[in-house]
Amino acid sequence: QLYDLMTMAFKYQVLLCPRPRDILLVTFNHLDAIKDFIYESPGILNQVDETFRQLIETYNCLSDGEFQLIRQTLLIFFQDMHIRVSIFLKDKVQNSNGRFALPTSGPVPWGTEVPGLIRIFNHKGVEVKRTEFTTAGNYVTPQREGSFELYGDRVLKLGTNMYSVSRPVETHMAGSSKNLASRAKENTVPNPLAKEELNFLARLLGGLDIQKPAGGETGFRLNLFTTDEEEEHAAQTRPEDLSYKVINIEATQEPGRRAELSRILGELEVAEARPDSAGKGEDLLALMDGL
């Protein structure tokens, strides 16, 4: 389903590019967004910038005709794919038959004139007449061209975050079982519980420093029983002789830790017992923190 979502979004972006060269601007929008995610890691940022520079070096010099050939070849890959994506349907970007809506209004591509003018020249090349024709389209001149430099305003919205606009909650639609669920967040305010879950995951992976608030409440704990009372009761009534031993295994690559791991493996013996701690909730978190 994720592949289908990505494919249809990619198809949408390629199909709706005003100029074939705008495929490159869409790519730059993607890279700009990636740089936003990793701006705090200079190492990765440099690598993305290097990719950027190589794209500029390879593709900025291609002609419009070559870009159109690239686009036509990509469109062959996407041909006959009409999977309906719920966010596209909601935004009326896609019809219920799975085909994308192609607007006949808005700014014309950079380098194209608004349709309507006919100019006639005589055999000396002097303009002798101007006439106009009208059609159903409603086009306007574009304001400026997007930037193809490492930094700049791309102007084009294709390739920017599809989910960054808040929209009303989706109501039940007939046939919605065929649609892909858009599982990502639908508004810019992060869900506080989700944030905690992500922080927890980060701690598990060892990527985030433990920041326990003073009160000891971490905002997330695991219940093995249905209610807190049952948890407490179980803890109190646990038989003494069922004491458990816990082994801390540090799986990171730090040399100090690895030495410890080797020692443990070598001995095949239980390491030191865990120290007692106050509440069972903190027990469990501390257990996972130690991983």
Binding site: D64, Q72, I76, D80, A101, T112, E113, I120, F121, V128
Partner: protein, 380 residues
């Protein structure tokens, strides 16, 4: 009705849509009597009054959808019979829709393995006086079939380099020329001229014309009467450069209109007027003899993919990625010799990027359209 721009004597159009009527053995049938009720009544000179709108007549189902390629619709209009045959490229195959029988598909040839089946770039019926051939161009070469697609008559392989080059290699741009040649363009800019025998498979490569520096996009032969010195063939490329040729045993370059970097994706030639469609949505009319720009139309809001011309009336059809199909009327002021172009009609093919558009009769009373991802041919 008086049609400005037509010659005083009865025209002998060497139109793509009909056999050239010149001196030759009488066929024993005499001039066909006009059948009332049919759209094609060329011989009485009857045409609908100017301004009569077109309407969608029917929709024909293709076996597969059309690819986004320039000039991706070819129509075969036999002179006597109204039913027509259509063809549109889908990736590696050509979708054929004939007057009889089920829709068929012709594959591209020359793939080394199943994984590397080459993509087709274009297909076109080429009508010569002696025979009609169906020509397919691909990333590997040129395939020529009998008109019904049943027999492969000739295969020409392009020089594809061992190691993939930075630029892709393909053939693109097809036209009958000079009554016995078929010209095919290539991605290197070279135009291959094939000498076609009246029957049989003994097709030979007669000449290679090397004037274009960029991949050829389209080729068109004169469909009316060429004025003196105007040439009877035009070739176009990705940079917008147009070359005018006179055909024959040896083709001669008569003139070159340099491009400005904007792709000319489709071109037609009629009575010495080159009509060219460009990637920036413009249609330009050039004087073939002098290379002078005579008209410039801001016709479409997106890349033009197809142009076609109806030689009996000078109607011009343009289709583009902006979903629009426009009908124009070309003419020449007999006093000033100025070229005129008027807008006649517009059709919007909703939510479709048009990639193929052709007239289905030499007067331009009917036309057919297809678009990217569309498994249909719309007939108006």
């Amino acid at each position: 009705p008086r049609c400005p721009g037509r010659r005083a004597e009865a025209p002998r159009p060497r139109s793509r849509l009909g056999l050239a009527r010149g001196p030759g053995p009488p066929r024993g049938r005499g001039p066909p009597r006009p059948v009332p009720g049919t759209a094609i009544q060329r011989h009485t000179g009857w045409h609908p009054a100017p301004g009569t709108p077109y309407r969608r007549e029917r929709v024909l189902a293709l076996r597969s959808s059309s690819s986004a390629l320039y000039n991706n619709l070819t129509v075969l209009c036999p002179p006597a019979r109204p039913p027509r045959a259509f063809g549109a490229v889908h990736g590696t195959t050509l979708s054929l829709l004939g007057p009889e029988g089920p829709p068929r598909q012709l594959p591209a040839r020359g793939g080394g393995s199943a994984l590397s089946t080459p993509l087709l770039t274009q297909a076109a019926w080429c009508e010569l006086p002696a025979r009609v051939l169906l020509v397919l161009t691909s990333q590997r070469g040129v395939q020529m079939y009998e008109a019904d697609g049943s027999t492969l008559v000739f295969w020409h392989a392009l020089d594809v380099p061992e190691h993939p080059a930075a630029h892709s290699v393909f053939a693109r741009g097809i036209s009958a020329a000079g009554e016995r040649f078929i010209c095919v363009g290539t991605s290197s800019g070279a135009v291959l001229v094939f000498d076609i025998p009246p029957k049989g498979t003994n097709v030979t490569l007669s000449e290679v014309l090397e004037q274009h520096r960029d991949p050829v996009t389209d080729i068109a032969a004169e469909q009316g009467q060429a004025p003196e010195g105007a040439g009877d063939l035009v070739t176009a490329d990705d940079c917008g450069t147009l070359c005018l040729w006179s055909t024959g045993e040896e083709f001669t370059l008569l003139g070159k209109i340099p491009g400005s970097g904007c792709t000319c994706s489709s071109v037609t030639l009629w009575n010495g007027i080159v009509a060219a469609g460009y990637g920036n949505g413009q249609i330009r009319l050039w004087e073939a003899g002098t290379g002078q720009l005579r008209a410039q139309v801001s016709a479409h809001a997106r890349w033009i993919y197809a142009l076609d011309l109806a030689p009996l009336t000078g109607k011009l059809l343009s289709g583009a990625e902006d979903s629009f199909v426009h009908i124009w009327k070309l003419s020449r002021d007999p006093d000033t010799d100025d070229v005129e172009i008027q807008h006649c009609h517009a059709e919007c093919v909703t939510d479709t990027q048009v990639c193929g558009a052709r007239f289905c009769d030499p007067a331009g009373d009917t036309f057919a359209v297809t678009g990217y991802d569309l498994s249909e041919i719309l007939c108006y």
